[in-house]
Every structure is written in structure tokens, then in C-alpha cells.
């Protein structure tokens, strides 16, 4: 009889998780501590935006596929129409996805966007238009990934419905649904 405690599930892809978090954290940290490193706005802008762009690439092409088994892209077919593709892994492979990986993926994605929004509010309040530009670029990259991956999720519609009916009035939830189907 096996009396030992079940082992705590570890991260299945630690390196991917690390890179997933690395560029987000560096962009945010550099932006926050920028006055310590450089006094030129241009340097701050370029480095922050480059880090945010690297993070976008890593999340979209690497950690999305490995950590949560989702991928999305755009292609233009022969007729010149733009097609957005959102795909997820099949059932068996999805079942094998590590829960900790998935939790880390989604939470860091949302926290990143929230952090940039807070920075944006600060810049807006201080009327620093230059820094608002930096925040704007980083925020759009973050939101693009969130929207892309949310559309990949099979259960996205169900989860949004459950969230909306739980916390918001039903009228608002139906508007949200129709907005998602339009995008």
C-alpha cells in the first residue's frame, strides 16, 4: 500500500515559463527604474518597446504553443482575403497540459496588461505624453496576445458567459458576447 503523499505537480516546461516571464518582467522593471539607468527618453523608449516586442514574439510563437497548446495567426489567401486562424490542441494533448504552466501563462498575461494600464494612468495623470506613447505601444502588444489566445480557447465562450452572468448584469454580458463575435 502506498502511503506516501502525492508529489506536488511541478512546472513541465521550466525554461519556457522562465522566458515567458522574463521579457515581461524586464520591460516593466526597466520602465519603472528607467531613471536609474538612463536619462535619455529615447533610450528608455527603444529598450522598453524592444523588450515588449520580444515578449510578444516569445508568447505568441513559443510559450503559447508549449505551455497551453494554443496558436493563432493571420494569413492572406489567394483571393486576397484576410483569414485569422485560431487553433488549439486536440483533447488528449490538452489533457496532458500541465496545470501550473497554464496558470502561470494566463495570470502573467493578465497581470502584465494590468500593470501597463496602471502605468498608463500614472502617465496620463502626470500629462507625460512621451511616456504615454511607450505605455500605449506595450499595452497594445499585451492586449493583442490576450485577445488572440482567448479566441483560441475552446471553452472561452463558456468561461466568458459564466464570468459575465456571475458578476455583471445579463444585459452587459450579451453585449460582450456580440462584441467578441464581431471582432
Amino acid at each position: 500500500m502506498d502511503l506516501s503523499q502525492p508529489e506536488e505537480e511541478n512546472y513541465a516546461n521550466p525554461k519556457t515559463c522562465f522566458f515567458h516571464v522574463l521579457f515581461k518582467a524586464s520591460a516593466l522593471a526597466f520602465y519603472m527604474l528607467s531613471t536609474l539607468f538612463a536619462d535619455s527618453f529615447v533610450i528608455i523608449f527603444v529598450i522598453t518597446v524592444v523588450l515588449a516586442a520580444l515578449d510578444f514574439w516569445v508568447v505568441k510563437n513559443v510559450s503559447g504553443r508549449i505551455l497551453v497548446g494554443l496558436r493563432w495567426w493571420n494569413e492572406i489567401n489567394e483571393q486576397g482575403e484576410s483569414i485569422w486562424r485560431f487553433e488549439c490542441l486536440d483533447h488528449e494533448s490538452l489533457a496532458r497540459i500541465n496545470q501550473k504552466d497554464s496558470w502561470l501563462f494566463w495570470w502573467t498575461l493578465y497581470l502584465n496588461a494590468i500593470a501597463w494600464t496602471i502605468f498608463g494612468i500614472f502617465s496620463l495623470v502626470r500629462l507625460e505624453v512621451d511616456y504615454l506613447l511607450v505605455v500605449g505601444v506595450c499595452l497594445s502588444l499585451a492586449i493583442a496576445n490576450i485577445i488572440g489566445f482567448t479566441k483560441c480557447r475552446k471553452d472561452a465562450k463558456n468561461k466568458i458567459q459564466a464570468f459575465a452572468s456571475r458578476t455583471i448584469a445579463s444585459r452587459f454580458s450579451s453585449t460582450l458576447q456580440s462584441a467578441f463575435s464581431l471582432v
Binding site: 535619455s40 529615447v42 514574439w57 487553433e87 486536440d90 506613447l133
Partner: protein, 204 residues
């Protein structure tokens, strides 16, 4: 596997290859070559140096990495060559170029043209490459006549690159409406990047 099986050369069955499905569907979508366009950061794409009339796959595979780099590089060169307010110059250049590309695209869409938003952004971004070259040369050179020649060549090259794509998207009657703003934006950026040029025009 038993040792006998090993000796007989039997191998383990390969793991089931994961299938990619669209949410809500059970059938596998057509397999796409891995490594989508967003990950091509490597060599310069062919479309910058081939004739834009050679439309086809090169134009369909849009990406925004090189346009992003061109905009940042142009902002950096303009900022470097500016004598005062360097950070303001950079911010304005970046915002102007990004907003300009978006507005030019919207212009074509509002004129009833048939283009795809991101493809157009990508193409206009690539058309900024001649401006990068011009800004770099004007930053390093002091010879007035050389600068004038470079400016004219750049203007022609940028317009030549953007023309086929933009003009093919709209009706014949609205071509000028679609093309003039592109030309204007290119001209304005050149005028802004070369102080001497803008001064001569001003005095003229």
C-alpha cells in the same frame, strides 16, 4: 519491452503526434508549415528589392517586424541629427509615422478600396526603408548637392514602391485621392529630416 523484443529490433511505437484543431471543431485543420511569418526576423525580405509589380506571395505574407525597426531607426536618426529637443523629435517621429501609416490605410478603406489593414500597414512600413537610407546619408554628409540628389532619389523610390499597391486597391477615379497623401507624408518626413532642404524650400 522485453529483451527479446529489443534483440529482434522492435522499437517503441512513436508517441501520438498532437493535432491542432479549431475551437469547437473536431477535424484537424490543414497543416501549416511551422514558423509563421511573425518569426521571420532573419534576412531582409525579398519584396524590398524586387519590383512591386511582382505581386504574389511576397506581398501576401505581411509582417510588422521590419516596419517597426524602420520606424524606430528613422526616429533614432532624426533624433540624433537634431540639435535640440532630441527626445521630442523621436517621440513625434515615431507617433507621426505610426499614425500616418494607420491613417493612410484608413484613407484607402474609406475611399472604398479593397485592401487589408495589416497588409497595408506592413507595406507602408517597408516603403519607409528609402527614408531610412536618406536620413542616414543626410546625417553623415554635408555636401548640399549630394543631399539634394539623395532626397530626390528617395522621394522617387518611396513613391514608386507604394504606388502599385495603393493604386490597385482603389477605383480609377479615386487613385489620386489615395496616392496624394502617401506622397505628402513621404515628402514631409524628408523635409523634416533634412534641415537644409526645408530651409531652402522655405526661402524659395
Amino acid at each position: 519491452m522485453t529483451p527479446t523484443e529489443l534483440l529482434l529490433g522492435k522499437r517503441e511505437l512513436p508517441k501520438n503526434k498532437a493535432k491542432w484543431l479549431q475551437p469547437g471543431k473536431e477535424k484537424e485543420t490543414i497543416r501549416r508549415k511551422d514558423g509563421d511569418r511573425m518569426s521571420t526576423i532573419g534576412g531582409l525580405p525579398p519584396r524590398m528589392f524586387t519590383s512591386p509589380l511582382g505581386v504574389g506571395k511576397a506581398l501576401r505574407d505581411w509582417d510588422l517586424w521590419w516596419p517597426f525597426f524602420f520606424i524606430v531607426f528613422l526616429g533614432l536618426t532624426l533624433s540624433w541629427s537634431a540639435s535640440v529637443k532630441k527626445s521630442e523629435v523621436f517621440a513625434v517621429a515615431f507617433a507621426l509615422l505610426a499614425a500616418g501609416a494607420v491613417i493612410l490605410t484608413l484613407n484607402v478603406l474609406l475611399l472604398g478600396g479593397h485592401i487589408i489593414f495589416f497588409q497595408s500597414l506592413s507595406l507602408l512600413g517597408y516603403c519607409l526603408f528609402p527614408l531610412d537610407v536618406e536620413a542616414l546619408i543626410c546625417m553623415m554628409e554635408n555636401n548640399v548637392i549630394l543631399k539634394m540628389i539623395v532626397v530626390c532619389v528617395t522621394l522617387a523610390w518611396s513613391s514608386w514602391a507604394a504606388y502599385p499597391f495603393m493604386s490597385s486597391a482603389v477605383n480609377l477615379s479615386r487613385k489620386a485621392l489615395a496616392l496624394y497623401p502617401v506622397f505628402l507624408m513621404v515628402y514631409d518626413i524628408i523635409a523634416a529630416s533634412d534641415p537644409f532642404y526645408s530651409t531652402t524650400v522655405y526661402f524659395w
